[in-house]
């Protein structure tokens, strides 16, 4: 689960990482009020779960409350890479002398947390890694040893931070970031930029924070931060029904059993010249209840023109799945053409059951590619 900048900063603050004071606003008037409370210059920042806000005009400096209201008007409703801005973070403006970068991520390859630190912050870290790999200090942490202060010293000296006052503050922030990372089950925490003010104060000017979905059960406070309004309505409905669903941008609705098989189904639709409308995994079963829930979610998307139901029968046999599909179609009205491919255990029996019942909008195909072609045809 990805957090907004302001939510990440709230967690930073909780763990003692310095951030600027700010307020959340969802209207120009709230932005005005926030700026008045904060006093002086403020920064009006779009809160969206994507990068590139600055370039897209989502971050603006305001001279005072009236200006903050005007800037909020400009930014609210902006579409940044498909994310519509509905929330603003109004923050006291900071003077910046230097921009550093600090992150701690779960490195899947090494299976250890990984610190990255550089004094060349404020730009995309991939760019630094590519152009000045020597400027980027990387350090893995043994999960049992945990954080030790020498690690922070290694980062600070390795990156060439010379000011003792800065060194001291960064060492403290590194330790607190590790604490926050472990305590919240984070997959990624990134401070870019980590700024040094002309007065020598070091603080986090931005935050990127991703928490492990599997661990949310033990962080109810973080789980509550999920912004359901930012989720496409189909995905919200799917979540409520317990259906694993991701909205995509095509015309062929996809339903299958098993994440890998469904991903493969999307690819086969693309190979057949179509565009998948969604990812939807039924899981191991194929009972009528699950099929109804999934079909309801898929057909709620107005872009969907046809549906490809791709099933491999393993322990759940294809004849059971076929009966599940028929029972589901009995319980709901679907206008869309549905192409079914059944393979695996008892596939022949399953196809026979569907052929005999032969609902008018149901097409049964023997192979994945044939079925994909048919579904693409029917969506045209």
């Amino acid at each position: 689960m990805d957090l907004y900048e302001y939510q990440g900063k709230e967690l930073f603050k909780r763990f003692g990482i310095p951030v600027s004071e700010g307020r959340l606003a969802t209207t120009p008037d709230e932005a005005h009020l926030a700026a008045a409370e904060l006093g002086g210059q403020v920064v009006v920042k779009a809160q969206v779960l994507t990068g590139g806000r600055g370039k897209a005009g989502g971050i603006k400096l305001a001279e005072g409350p009236d200006d903050a209201r005007a800037k909020a008007k400009e930014i609210l409703g902006l579409d940044i890479r498909g994310h519509v801005v509905r929330k603003l973070w109004i923050e006291r403006a900071s003077d910046i002398a230097k921009e550093y970068y600090l992150s701690l991520t779960l490195d899947r390859g090494a299976k250890q947390p990984l610190f990255m630190f550089t004094t060349e912050g404020g730009v995309e870290i991939e760019e630094v890694a590519e152009k000045h790999p020597d400027a980027l200090v990387r350090l893995h942490v043994d999960p049992f040893e945990g954080y030790q202060p020498w690690q922070a010293r290694r980062l600070v000296y390795g990156a060439g931070v010379e000011d003792p006052n800065e060194q001291k503050q960064i060492v403290s922030i590194v330790g607190k970031l590790y604490e926050a990372f472990v305590a919240t089950d984070a997959m990624l925490t990134e401070i870019n930029p980590l700024v040094v003010t002309p007065e020598g104060e070091v603080k986090a000017l931005d935050s990127k924070f991703t928490v492990d979905d599997a661990a949310l059960y033990r962080h109810p406070d973080v789980a509550e931060m999920r912004d359901l309004d930012a989720v496409p309505p189909e995905e919200r409905a799917a979540r409520e029904k317990g259906v694993t669903y991701v909205k995509l941008d095509g015309e062929v609705g996809i339903l299958g059993n098993g994440a890998g098989l469904v991903m493969s189904t999307l690819d086969v639709i693309a190979l057949a010249g179509g565009r998948p409308a969604n990812f939807c995994d039924l899981g191991g079963g194929g009972d009528a209840e699950g099929v109804v829930d999934a079909l309801e979610v898929i057909t709620a998307d107005p872009q969907v023109k046809s549906i490809f139901f791709n099933v491999f029968g393993g322990i759940t046999r294809c004849d059971e799945v076929a009966r599940g599909i028929l029972a589901a179609l009995d319980r709901m009205t679907i206008e869309h053409p549905i192409v079914v491919r059944l393979d695996g255990t008892n596939a022949e029996e399953g196809r026979k059951i569907l052929d005999e019942a032969s609902p008018p909008n149901l097409y049964v195909e023997p192979t994945m590619l044939d079925a994909a072609r048919r579904a693409v045809e029917l969506a045209a």
Binding site: E126, D185, A214, G258, G344
Partner: protein, 292 residues
């Protein structure tokens, strides 16, 4: 031969008395797997259709000689279950449980790794050596016995490929589901190494998907260290960045972990990548035919 599980497997099922554990534990026994015990704290002394249940894994090892564990316990107790199995002297641990927090798996992995234990999963379908043993939830009836090793991050996709191979008259030495989590106990490289050393295995099919860089590491391993041919399939070419596609580990982060990058890395190391499961099965049949 075969790898990970075989006729010498003496299986203890942790969570045997739960509905999943019972269903699959009994299926595994019916297949011919030597299921010697179950473990459920507080239910020691009971039995599940003749399989004795113990309170702890230590007892299952002492009384029933268990050497392999299959874990079905709920996510929040699963890490504890792995530590318990390893500390009891179990050499092979297969974890079916989904949704174990990644931070817990980091610690489990770091603890288990230096001990030389084989840890498969979590969030995986298990391991099947056709004709010898089935440990987990893989539908054995769709696979035949043979010389092709299969290693995969996905369940049903593997069944699909195994089924298509069987239709072409080809069978498997062992099918290993390494699971769809971000921190798996065994990676492609770990399993490829075992297949390379297994006399029964003549060729390996590797089924990857988006997320992480284990396929890229496997590509280099295959080029540098393997004599047996390897073929691959990658799922998720159409997956958008930043979205978790069903499996917790199936996510493109920024620009890393794409299917295209994995395909290119594999092909650059001489590993053919099929575009559909059917094409992969056909490539395997061609390769086997060419070798025969």
């Amino acid at each position: 031969m075969a790898i990970v599980v075989d006729r010498d497997t003496r299986l203890v099922v942790q969570g045997l008395t739960g509905s999943e554990g019972r269903f699959h534990g009994l299926r595994n026994r019916n297949y011919g797997t030597n299921v010697v015990a179950g473990v459920t704290p507080g239910k020691g002394g009971q039995d599940v259709e003749g399989i004795p249940v113990h309170d702890t894994v230590v007892e299952a090892v002492e009384h029933a000689g268990a050497n392999t564990s299959l874990i079905f316990v709920p996510a929040r107790f699963a890490a504890d279950a792995v530590y318990e199995a390893v500390d009891a002297g179990i050499g092979t641990v297969i974890v079916i449980t989904e949704h174990i927090p990644a931070h817990e798996m980091l610690r489990v992995y770091t603890y288990v790794r230096p001990k030389g234990i084989t840890l498969i999963g979590p969030n995986c379908p298990g391991v099947l050596s056709p004709g010898k043993a089935n440990v987990g939830i893989i539908p054995a009836e769709v696979f035949a016995e043979g010389a092709i090793g299969l290693v995969s991050r996905s369940g049903t996709l593997t069944y699909q490929i195994g089924y298509e191979l069987a239709q072409l008259g080809l069978g498997n030495s062992t099918i290993v589901g390494i699971g769809g989590d971000p921190v798996p106990g065994s990676s492609f490289v770990d399993v490829l190494e075992k297949f390379e050393a297994d006399p029964q295995t003549e060729l390996v099919v590797m089924v990857g998907e988006i997320g992480g860089n284990e396929e890229e590491k496997a590509a280099e391993f295959i080029r540098d260290r393997m004599t047996k041919p390897v073929l691959a399939y990658i799922a998720g070419f159409t997956a958008p960045p930043g979205k978790t596609m069903g499996h917790a580990g199936a996510i493109i982060s920024g620009s890393s972990g794409t299917a295209q990058a994995k395909k290119e890395a594999l092909e650059a190391c001489g590993v053919p990548v099929g575009t559909t499961p059917t094409e992969v099965a056909q490539l395997v049949a061609d390769a086997v035919g060419a070798r025969a």
